[in-house]
Symmetry: C2
DNA sequence: AATATATATAACTAAATCCTTATATAAGTG
DNA sequence: CACTTATATAAGGATTTAGTTATATATATT
């Protein structure tokens, strides 16, 4: 079920996989859409999706001939649990994050526009 | 200075490097202490420290023949900025993190006991 | 049934990554 | 100055990883 040791960190270390996650954060999608949205080759996308699935970050269900992938936010528990203390650390010391988030404030990059 | 693209994610993907960061979160330390505390070989520790430094996660200053390494929490901005939306996502949907944090609640693993 | 579409897997290559041993550099100590 | 201690770097091997092309599998369509 949940990844054992650092699997999540490795899954998330790859840029294309973060792009896939960001995409799925806006809602479930079939592989085909992920392929066109990311520009990855189909086999490569499938491979990244398998890695993400094995890390517990996404899940897939069949819809006819398609496989719909969806985000499993709970899979990030290990990562979030690890950063939390650091987050606390520099919330007291620095406002670097705020500056970072401001720089990233781009409407096209929004996730979950609800 | 600050890492450009995903450098932080890759730096943090490695288990030994997370151990080093967790160690430095408790305070600055010379390389020698990091070596004995982690069990890494000295050259390997130096290598991991260089990677962490280039990613902006640690900084070093000279103290005689020693190099004192210290945490730079601001270096985690990219990572924290990226997880934030997901954090929000499942704070609404799931309490998996809380359970995860409870499981990790070990006095020996505390950071920055101030 | 034959063909087309959607996804997964296999086989392979190129590049990156981690680790070790050996050596360099620089600062302390006698 | 000779020697030791602390850290960094170089060189090499072994494993891992991301990517490709080719093929398998399963579902839909005609």
């Amino acid at each position: 079920m949940s990844a054992t040791g650092g699997e999540v960190f490795e899954a998330v270390a790859e840029g294309s996989r973060r792009v896939i996650l960001d995409l799925l954060a806006r809602g479930p999608r079939p592989v085909g859409e992920i392929v066109t949205a990311t520009g990855l080759s189909q086999p490569n996308a499938s491979r990244h999706l398998r890695i993400l699935r094995e890390a517990g970050l996404v899940a897939s269900r069949a819809d006819g001939q398609r496989r719909i992938y969806e985000l499993r936010p709970a899979g990030l528990a290990e990562l979030i649990g690890w950063v939390a203390p650091y987050q606390a650390l520099w919330k007291t010391s620095l406002d670097a994050l705020e500056r970072h988030l401001d720089a990233e404030a781009d409407p096209d990059t929004e996730r979950e526009d609800h």
